[in-house]
């Protein structure tokens, strides 16, 4: 197959920058268990990690956001297994309901485990007192209350087996529908800022907040039985891991899952611990979960991960943006195009750019999740301030000085190196400084695609509504931004003194 040509040096730079990213140099690939960004998925993934370790394999968990990202990561080999639900497989992944689900998945190199035991169906939920007041007892009763305020997660809003489908089946009239985080939607309902949200029937919050789960009287929602999806080659690489994972089949009941979810959501307990305790009591597996370590140890680890996103992406951005800025300053017509293009990059929402980078990096270097796409997206995001300031710094060099250098007989490249770039250096440095600070903040979004860094505790904290956990990411991120500001302040002073 022919590939479109990519500007070779750009590609080289990206690869160079990514060579320093974690995970690339490891020879023995650990078993990676994927998790979606909600508690139950994280608990199940932690069970997977503990079971894989019990089988003697090196294993870790990767939080990858929503279904499409996980499916992509699984088929591309970034993760080896993840817990999924049968309804999601047929409706969202395959968009078909084949008679033999296992065979349909096998065609894509993916194996399907047998159900773990519990169902986590979609349903709509309300406060019991609000529902009673309106006389609502089942989903079809919602038809008579068009003014109800609904809040759903974005994925539910988009999925054919989510809001669009349920609205069509029940002919629901509600128009006040917002997309929001699942945990926030629960808070909204509890505090009466919202009337209806989607619930998963194993959610710990249902019992915690004593919510009413509206019966699906027209039988719209499919059955969502929890199963393992794993790569066919995992059986070849680590047969004992597959064995251990499948020991969960038929072992988790709905009340057990609800209790575990509530332990994490309500009591703010650690997912790995909850998972390991379950394995111990139910399977008799004396497993080791992900080591949580001390607060200082965790912050040190996330700081390391964060710097591995920020530093390579910033260096790559400098290597690309300074030459671009020079070209833009030399060729005004081309310059307008360059400045416009990097400006346009900045208008892409950072999360969208991050997700867009998953297939791009898969194609470029064969790794579509984790640090590489995050570093690539951050690199693109850091271009604008550096290109713009390089351009401004160079065009700001007085004409008389340029001419003075020409009159000496210096060739153009020497003028650039000995006169123009040194004179523009403070402006260029200010651009790099801006890029660095933006970069530190934006890198927290790397948590969405398993890139690690401060985004991981922040996103898990939001999901669990665990403020200390959020701060565990947010405060170091702010401190790092301040530290980088201070560092550049020192560099700028040194540069202006030396000249």
């Amino acid at each position: 197959m022919r590939r479109p040509r990519v500007f070779p040096s750009t590609r080289l730079l990206l690869i160079l920058a990514l060579a320093t990213a974690p995970g690339c140099s490891r020879t023995e690939k650990p078993v990676v268990i994927g998790a979606k960004k909600f508690t139950e998925s994280v608990i199940l993934a932690e069970m997977g990690v503990a079971l894989a370790r019990d089988a003697g394999a090196e294993a870790r968990r990767d939080d990858l956001g929503g279904t499409p990202a996980l499916w992509l990561a699984l088929t591309q080999g970034d993760i080896d297994a993840y817990p999924e639900y049968t309804g999601t497989i047929t409706r969202q992944i395959l968009k078909a309901d084949p008679p033999d689900l296992a065979a349909a998945l096998a065609e894509k190199g993916v194996r399907l485990g047998r159900p773990m035991g519990f169902r986590n169906n979609y349903a709509l939920g309300m406060r019991k007192d609000v529902a009673a007041e309106l006389g609502i007892t089942k989903t079809s009763d919602l038809r008579d209350h068009p003014d109800l305020r609904c809040g759903f997660i974005h994925e539910f809003l988009d999925r054919p087996d989510g809001w669009p489908g349920v609205r069509a089946r029940y002919n629901l009239p509600q128009t006040n529908v917002q997309g929001m985080n699942h945990t926030l939607a629960y808070r909204g309902v509890v505090e009466k800022a919202l009337d209806v949200t989607e619930v998963y029937t194993t959610d710990g919050e249902i019992a915690q907040y004593d919510l009413l789960v509206l019966p699906d009287d027209l039988h719209f929602f499919p059955s969502y039985e929890a199963v393992w999806l794993y790569r066919a080659d995992l059986g070849a690489r680590h047969p004992e891991v597959v064995d251990r994972l499948r020991r969960l089949e038929g072992k988790i009941t709905e009340p057990e899952m609800q209790r575990m979810n509530a332990a994490v959501q309500g009591e703010k307990r650690d997912e790995a611990q909850v998972a390991v305790e379950f394995l111990r009591s139910k399977l008799g597996v004396d497993a080791v979960g992900s080591a949580e370590g001390t607060l200082a140890g965790r912050v040190l680890a996330t700081t390391g991960e964060h710097l591995l996103l920020v530093v390579p992406s910033l260096l790559a951005a400098i290597a690309i943006a300074v030459p671009l800025g020079i070209v833009a300053a030399r060729r005004p017509t081309l310059g307008r195009f360059v400045l416009g293009a990097v400006g346009l990059l900045q208008t892409i929402p950072s999360l969208a750019l991050l997700l867009f980078m998953i297939p791009v990096m898969m194609w470029l270097i064969g790794r579509g999740t984790g640090a590489p796409p995050a570093v690539a997206a951050l690199t693109l995001y850091s271009l604008l301030p550096i290109v713009r300031n390089t351009h401004a710094g160079l065009t700001g060099v007085p004409r008389s000085l340029r001419e003075s250098a020409e009159a000496l007989g210096l060739p153009p490249l020497a003028i650039l190196r000995r006169v123009e770039l040194p004179l523009a250096a403070p402006t260029i440095l200010a651009g790099v400084r801006t890029a660095a600070v933006i970069n530190v903040g934006t890198a927290t979004l790397g948590g969405f695609i398993g890139a690690g860094g401060y985004g991981r505790p922040i996103l898990r904290g939001i999901d669990k509504f665990d403020v200390p956990l959020m701060l565990e990411g947010a405060i170091p991120a702010a401190l790092l931004a301040v530290a980088i500001e201070a560092l550049f302040g020192l560099i700028e002073r040194a540069v202006s003194r030396r000249g």
Partner: protein, 245 residues
């Protein structure tokens, strides 16, 4: 040393210079003078290829100055502009030696040449390691002159070199400059709008108006044998101090 044959220069559709035919003889000091906008600075820029003529030929030492030859011409011609045109990020010494270092000249030879030039221009040795921002206007001008002379050029071009200085410094520097010109016996082309300064330096004066030569000759020719009424007016406009009795 420099010759111009039917040279014309157009800026933004308007003729800025010429057509001009002019010889600038070797070893002599020629002063280009005229009101602002007369094209005297443009003429200077044409000599070292900072601008190219639209018509005609500019030649240096018998060979035409073109974009291809301009760099080699510039290495043999020193150029000084108002306020020195010094690079603010470099020390005085680094400004003076920039081109020599770029050419990879011997370090010791460079250091010796800087000392020689500092003595010639009476520049204080401790000022060599200061940046232009820390020097006085007169000192900056001396650094500009040292930089122009660094590679021992055949010719020296100066564009209003003393324009930004106060009268006392200016008078001192004028005297020193004339001494230097006489000692070095180089081809000098100096642009000024001050007739007093012109007559002080010039072997030959070229008076320009609207891009054309109105008169060329010795300073005395302008005073005593004006070519047209403009020359008379220009000469008379330069008044000395009017001291009441």
């Amino acid at each position: 040393m420099f010759t111009l044959r039917d040279v014309q220069k157009v800026y933004a559709g308007r003729p800025a210079l010429g057509p001009i035919t002019l010889d600038l003889p070797a070893g002599r000091t020629t002063v280009l003078i005229g009101p602002s906008g007369c094209g005297k600075s443009t003429l200077l820029r044409l000599l070292i290829g900072l601008a190219g003529p639209h018509k005609g030929v500019v030649a240096f030492d018998g060979a035409p100055v073109t974009p291809e030859t301009a760099r080699s011409v510039r290495l043999r011609v020193g150029y000084v502009i108002q306020d020195g045109g010094l690079f603010p990020h470099l020390t005085a010494r680094a400004n003076v030696t920039l081109m020599a270092r770029h050419l990879g000249r011997d370090r010791e030879a460079i250091a010796a040449r800087v000392d020689e030039l500092a003595a010639l221009t009476r520049f204080p040795a401790d000022g060599l390691d200061r940046r232009p921002g820390e020097l006085s206007g007169g000192q900056r001008q001396r650094v500009g002159l040292m930089r122009a002379l660094m590679l021992d050029p055949d010719a020296l071009l100066l564009d209003e070199p003393l324009g930004a200085l106060d009268p006392l410094v200016r008078a001192d520097l004028q005297a020193e400059l004339r001494e230097i010109f006489r000692a070095l016996r180089k081809t000098v082309v100096l642009v000024t709008h001050d007739l007093g300064e012109a007559t002080y330096f010039a072997d030959r004066v070229v008076l320009l108006r609207d891009g054309r030569i109105v008169q060329e000759g010795s300073p005395g020719d302008l005073w005593h044998r004006p070519a047209d009424p403009f020359v008379t007016r220009f000469v008379q406009a330069q008044r000395g101090p009017e001291v009441p009795a």
